[in-house]
């Protein structure tokens, strides 16, 4: 688990779990999230994400999910998340570089979708959208 922006002793920051096999993507998304007032935790694939959620009992406010990853891809992870009551309500922002068919998109049940490449503004808007819909 990588954490770039920990709590700074003040108001606890909402945690965002960033799942992406591209190291640089994880890193820069983490930087931006830190700037936007979140705490970012990175996982390089679905398997690592599950381990963090299960073993480290992390309960993120939002998940930013890449689709194509080794070991456990976005589809498989999303199925697992939806099947587990503790995780099924966590909003998911799907971020994909590959175009997705309607069928694939439906399988992912995204609360927001970001097509790579995207900038800080698009990420902020997506997070804002899912956070505002979130059941407190």
């Amino acid at each position: 688990m990588s954490v770039w922006c920990g709590d700074d002793g003040g108001e606890p920051r909402p945690v965002v779990l960033v799942i992406d096999d591209d190291h640089d993507s994880c890193e820069v998304i983490g930087d931006i999230l830190g700037h936007l007032g979140y705490r970012a935790v990175a996982a390089r694939d679905g398997a690592e994400a599950l381990r963090i959620l299960r073993d480290e009992r992390l309960h993120p406010a939002v998940i930013v999910l890449d689709v194509w990853m080794p070991n456990l891809d976005g589809f498989e992870l999303r199925r697992t998340l939806r099947a587990e009551s503790a995780w099924s309500t966590i909003p998911v922002v799907v971020a994909s570089a590959a175009p997705l068919s309607d069928h694939e998109l439906a399988q992912l049940h995204p609360d927001a979708f970001l097509a790579k490449p995207f900038g800080e503004g698009a990420l902020e808007a997506a997070l804002h959208r899912v956070m505002s819909k979130r059941v407190p």
Partner: protein, 593 residues
Amino acid sequence: MVVDRDPVFGALQLEGPRGIDEADLMFANAVVNQLAVALARVTSIEARERALQDDLGFLREAAASLGEGLLAVDLRGTITLFNRAAERLLGVAGADALGHHISEVLQVHRADGSLVGNEECPLTIAVRRGEPVESDDHLFGSPARAAFPVSCTAAPFRRGAILAFRDVMEVKRSEVEQRILAETSAVVSSSLDDRRVVAAVARAAVPGFADICFVDERRPDGSIVRDCVVFADAGKQHLAEHVRRYAPRPDWQTPQRRVIETGAPFLLSAVASGEEVAQDADHAALLRAIDVASMIAVPLVARGQRFGAITFATAESGRRYADRDLRLAIELARRTATAIDNARLYGAADRATKARDNLLGIVSHDLKSPLSVILMNTDVLKRAGEVAAQRTKSVESIRRSAQRMDRLLQDLLDTASIEAGHLVAEPRRVAAGAVLADAVEPLVPLATARSISLVVEVPDDLPAVLADPPRLHQVITNLVGNAIKFTPKDGTILVAGRRAGAHVELSVSDTGPGIPEGDLPRLFDRFWQARQTAKLGSGLGLYIVKGIVDAHHGQLRVESRVGAGSTFVVSLPIAPPHGEALVDSRSVGPLLR
């Protein structure tokens, strides 16, 4: 005077010792008249007989000069009439036919070639029914001539039957030729699958034109493969595999190879023993088993390229090919070749389109991720008051992303070179261990970041190999990069070198998930990715590795089991002891990075 009313055709003189009285005259007149009537009758019969003889002579002459074969038999089946056309058509002299039983001279066959018994013979049927019988479905043969299709009429008469027939071989042949050409045209215009075209043409030609048909195709590497072996006689189809085995080999000068090499059609009207065209005793035995009678081989040519030959042969039909058949064969081959060419062009265009789509997919996907990183980092940098450390980190991230995009472009260029056969390696004597260490070193931080141990094991006495150092560096980088991508946390990657006979084997083993057996054959295909790893990368890495190893005349193999990791082994020839000085790969440096 002897009269029979009119004309007067004689006179009778009566003399006697005494005078002739009225009664005598009356008596004489009566006698004369009787005589006249009798004479008149005789004369009339003679005249009629002469007329009949004339008529008969005319009929004989007419029958003799008739274009149709004409023969008559009596009720016992003995031939009583055999005209010149019958002699010509059946190849039997009149003297050898007249007085002989019909069965010694004429054999009647059904359309399928089987012999017809006496009961089914048109002559017998005509006699039995008492009326003429017409048939276009029989073949006639004789001891002197093979069966040929006829159109015939058999008609009964009081003391036998008469049979008129003509040879319709040419008519039937024209019909068959037209049908074959029509069928071929239909296939040619409807299919864009070259194998289907060839198979359909072979089926169209058999049995109408040939008893056996097959196609020899020249592959890009010059080898010739034989396919689409079709027999008219289903009982011989089991010989197809043997026929395929006799596709011309490089050192054989078979008719088909000559046809493909020179483009000149080949016609062997009468195959005597098969020795003329056989390569060895087994081949000759095969030709005897098929009972080849006559053969034609013609080239398949399209747009000036000879890419094969099609062979037509006869066997059980006994048909002998002639020039006219060669013309039909050439026309069939021309249409077939055009269709195959069209199918191939379509296939190539289709593949090119798919490749382009794949490429677009890869380019868009693989460029979008680093572009996204660049875009977000520029947003970070734009922010005022960013600390120096963050700036350095973002700039570093941008640089790495740009390098990834550059690498993808280089991979695409390498792929294009391999596709075009332009990827060249310039092998020289090189210390493989040094190249290994050099290629692995920059990847250590990446492995460490993922908690993967990257171990290099190279014995000090590993012999030098013949390799192009930057290309070998690229091979190792790709294989190790791949291994890092698929090895889970806390896994191990072992990069090793060892001597194996006249070769050095460089291997990259990982503790990743392994590759399903079914995926192994396609592992080195361009753009191919296992289902589980779809879209994780361009799918070009292993294809390029294979292309580079091939350019070195080396070997690349993979050993893998699901759950037990994978090992990729590159085998390169050991450099001969003498030659140019060993190149230290460190002074050459990596090609791409």
